[in-house]
């Protein structure tokens, strides 16, 4: 029913405002409306019209749909609900990124740029934290601001880790990889992206009300009694969670129902498998975190009793609900990147993905088990209770499917011909980093060892090794791998290598010493520590600054190459999967014809049949 018409475009030209700006305006209107509704109800109930926290919650919940409609969902979608004609938002040039665009490639770029920006901001906050931690006592931040910045850093980075790779590459590359012309539900796809700007803006505004100080985990009762910023955190989590669910419905439907002819499950590129299972995890677990933070919010704004011990509530319940989502979320952060890694290794080894079936089984096994391990974050809640033993078992069992991913990785490079281009460097670094992250996680799953390690810098080091060392390294591996496809241009290889080595060395120098710090009495989330730990902390801070500087090199290269890099051609890496069998960037409907998969995606033998044939101009 949506028909591309130039009408919307003209309307845009007349007002001179991109739709994103109109969205902000409508969003503001929605906020005022929501706050007014609260004021009226309160006034009618005779309890005084104004109460900030209630006004903010309801105002924000009104402002999000208003914002989304304002950025163009009204014309492309909302009008249809009332039986009116709808239009597609498809202006030329840069404007196409600033509205409710339905093209999955545009949405992929929107995700990529948005979350790179958030990554850089949250990284800058980390620099501030490491400045404070350069020496004991107060350096630049007091303990209050440190704790708030720590919380902001943690939460923003969690959002980046959960969203960036599936958002950018799951959207841009996956549909092309399966030979589809777009995602199954383009409007839901645009919705999933446009839910993010309100959530992110809200978080960036949270320091105005004093931020919040519970870290990204938001445990009550602390979360029930602290600053107003806690509500911002909760709202962002709910809205971001809704986006994840919507996106995962789309990913799953696209992968299950829209694969090209001949693309059997056994020929599916491993990255698509990773996105599929990521979608399953987001679909089933995300609601639970929304429930957890909603309950905290209700405790705060209407005096509910969920987690308030004085009213008969149970603070520990929060941790169960929260981790029921947040452990699977760890795999939402890592699986897509592991998919990128396993996608890259065969291409640059010119060798089939080793033990493909085992790798797929590993990804599935990780996903299934991830739903039954949550309480390993809670061993110290009741350290000697018998249930802990069960969670120790399930957690240690996850090391088996995770090991299969390593099997596939090392088996692929063995006897390959390793073409050490930048994506390959990142993929190999991921194997190394994730190995350390995985092994140190086993220590945390062991109840006796966890006694000492829980809530220390060992945990900080461990999850940075998994989520940065694999998740974020995978993001950059994917950026370098698909940059030529997305932009049609090649990046500067030399600068990219500088970025890689700075990031790899800086990362390891920053986080490796943290294991030692944790063992030696440094607990996490602290603005201050024992003077004996000063030298190592100074070293960590300096290494952290070096790591931070690596991203400046990246940014420069990213921006300049996007504008002026040499043309890359359709397939600079000689890869076989479908996205490389179309132009860079691909045409609006991705292919000039109908793709039909006829072979394996990783068969690099010189006489091998192609992965796919594209029937140009053919009719089905």
């Amino acid at each position: 029913m949506a028909t591309a018409t130039p009408q919307v475009e003209r309307r845009l030209g007349a007002s001179g405002l991109p739709f994103a700006a109109r969205g902000l305006l409508w969003g503001l209107g929605g906020f005022v409306l929501g706050a007014a509704v609260v004021a009226i109800i309160r006034a009618l109930a005779g309890v005084g019209a104004w109460r900030a926290d209630q006004a903010i919650v309801v105002g924000f919940l009104f402002s999000v749909p208003a914002f989304v409609l304002g950025v163009g969902a009204w014309e492309t979608w909302g009008r249809g609900w009332f039986g009116l004609e709808t239009y597609e938002y498809d202006p030329p040039g840069w404007r196409r990124y600033f509205g409710f665009n339905l093209d999955h490639k545009v949405i992929g770029v929107q995700y990529l740029v948005t979350f790179l920006t958030v990554f850089i901001l949250a990284g800058a906050v980390a620099m501030l934290m490491r400045t404070e931690l350069m020496d004991p006592g107060r350096t630049v931040l007091g303990p209050a601001s440190f704790t708030r910045f720590m919380s902001l850093h943690g939460f923003l980075m969690v959002l980046v880790a959960v969203t960036a790779v599936p958002g950018a590459f799951g959207n841009y590359v996956m549909p092309i990889m399966v030979g589809a012309e777009d995602m199954a539900f383009p409007r839901l796809n645009a919705l999933s992206f446009w839910l993010w700007p309100p959530a992110i803006l809200l978080l960036l505004a949270s320091p105005l009300v004093g931020g919040w100080d519970t870290g990204w985990t938001g445990y009550p009762p602390l979360a029930s009694v602290n600053n107003l910023g806690q509500i911002f955190y909760a709202l962002a989590f709910v809205v971001g969670g809704l986006s994840s669910i919507v996106a995962s419905v789309n990913f799953l439907t696209t992968i299950v129902k829209m694969r090209a002819r001949g693309l059997t499950w056994g020929r599916l590129p491993i990255f698509v498998w990773a996105i599929l299972l990521t979608g399953v995890l987001s679909l089933f677990f995300t609601q639970s975190v929304a429930v957890a933070v909603t309950m905290v919010t209700l405790d705060r704004i209407v005096g509910a009793a969920f987690f308030e011990p004085l009213l008969g509530g149970a603070p520990v319940l929060y941790q169960h609900i929260f981790w029921f989502y947040s452990h699977p979320a760890v795999y939402v952060m890592v699986l897509p990147s592991l998919g990128v890694m396993l996608e890259i290794l065969p291409v640059f080894s010119r060798k089939p993905l080793f033990a493909y079936r085992w790798a797929v089984g590993g990804i599935i096994g990780i996903s299934v088990l991830s739903g039954v391990v949550w309480a390993h974050h809670m061993f110290t809640v009741s350290a000697l209770s018998n249930a802990n033993a069960g969670f120790m078992l399930s957690t240690e069992a996850i090391s088996v499917p995770t090991g299969l991913v390593f099997l596939s990785a090392v088996g692929t490079i063995w006897r390959g011909r390793l073409w050490m281009k930048v994506p390959m460097l990142f993929a190999l670094a991921m194997v190394f980093n994730f190995l350390i992250g995985g092994i140190t996680g086993v220590f945390l799953s062991d109840i006796p060892a966890d006694y000492q390690l829980q809530d220390t810098y060992w945990v900080v080091a461990h999850f940075h090794y998994t989520i940065v060392g694999a998740g974020i390294f995978g993001l950059f591996a994917g950026i370098y791998y698909w940059f030529p496809k997305i932009t049609g241009r090649m990046f500067d290889e030399r600068l990219a290598r500088v970025h890689f080595w700075m990031m790899f060395v800086g990362f390891n120098l920053t986080f490796l010493p943290m294991f030692w710090l944790g063992l030696n009495g440094m607990n996490r989330r602290i603005a201050d520590y024992q003077p004996e730990l000063a030298p190592v902390n100074l070293f960590v801070s300096l290494a952290g600054f070096f790591l931070g500087a690596s991203f400046l090199v990246f940014l420069w290269n990213f921006v300049v190459s996007w504008k002026k890099g040499p043309p890359a051609g359709p397939n600079p890496w000689g890869a076989r999967t479908l996205e490389w069998q179309t132009s860079s960037p691909p045409p609006k409907l991705n292919f000039e014809g109908i793709p039909e998969v006829v072979g394996d995606p990783y068969d690099f033998a010189p006489d091998a049949p192609r992965h796919a044939e594209i029937e140009v101009g053919g009719e089905r």
Binding site: T380, L418, Q530
Partner: protein
């Protein structure tokens, strides 16, 4: 064929070398600080066992990675050997990793867990009640009727089994004495417990890990929510406790209070 064998032999040798290097490194770097409790021995045993197991695993992947990168690096794309799977190897990998996971679950996992559980059932020599408060610890020795609000120091007897009853007056805190190794959350509305037997006379001044540190994020004062612990001879402890009980004088006045209304009981000895 001989080339293949050479690849395997060299990688195997590299693995062995890396394992040896790994063991040497782990031995030379002092990973764990001094241990000062009986129960903590289980924790250290578990940690060291896992460390031992992880060296060959880490070294294996690293050896393959290093050897492959050196041996098969090319400057221009070139077709690699088209190996899709080596079933024996994959099955071996799967079975060995499953066995390893099973092994670590049983020991040090379950064995350590059961040892800690059974240690916790033995009769304690001393009861101590700890209440976490934003941002200090209140300490009570109920048997002697001594209650100290935000004391500057917590005294414990050496070689005596101490049972801590933990709770919180506001948000979640956690008991952690790094030198004792044990950790247990203090949750408002609930009482949790932890049993520890300090093994030797020690103090915060000699070892900063002899401190009761709050380990669960509890707000602004979390980092400095710690109080030095002093482990003394039992006789000295008894004498101190008796004195403290007399000082209480029955009217509930507590002599430990520093009279400060903020900042908790941490670090007054620092600049």
């Amino acid at each position: 064929m001989s080339g293949r064998r050479r690849d395997l032999v060299v990688t195997g040798a590299l693995w062995v070398v890396l394992v040896i290097v790994g063991v040497l490194v782990v031995r030379s770097v002092d990973l764990l600080p001094a241990l000062r409790s009986e129960e903590g021995a289980e924790v250290d045993l578990a940690f060291n066992t896992l460390l031992l197991y992880s060296i060959p695993v880490f070294a294996f992947v690293l050896a393959v990675l290093l050897y492959s990168v050196v041996r098969w690096r090319v400057d221009e794309p070139e077709t690699g050997d088209q190996i899709r799977d080596v079933p024996a190897f994959s099955w071996g990998w799967f079975l060995v990793s499953t066995a390893l996971a099973g092994l670590i679950f049983v020991t040090p996992g379950l064995t350590g867990f059961f040892a800690l559980q059974s240690a916790a059932t033995e009769e304690p020599d001393l009861e101590v009640r700890l209440t976490g408060v934003q941002w200090h610890w209140d300490v009570e020795y109920p048997e002697a009727g001594v209650a100290l609000e935000a004391p500057q120091e917590i005294l414990l007897p050496a070689d005596r089994r101490v049972r801590f009853e933990l709770t919180s007056a506001d948000v979640i805190h956690a008991f952690w004495v790094p030198a004792f190794r044990l950790k247990q959350d203090a949750i408002p509305g609930e009482t949790t417990e932890l049993i520890v037997t300090p093994t030797e006379v020690s103090s915060y001044d000699a070892d900063p890990n002899v401190r009761l540190q709050c380990a669960e994020l509890c707000g602004t004062g979390h980092a400095r929510m710690y109080v030095p612990v002093r482990v003394v001879e039992p006789a000295e402890f008894e004498a101190w406790l008796t004195g403290a009980a007399m000082g209480m004088g029955g009217d509930g006045m507590d002599m430990g209070s520093d009279g400060m209304d903020m900042g908790g009981n941490a670090g007054h000895d620092e600049g």
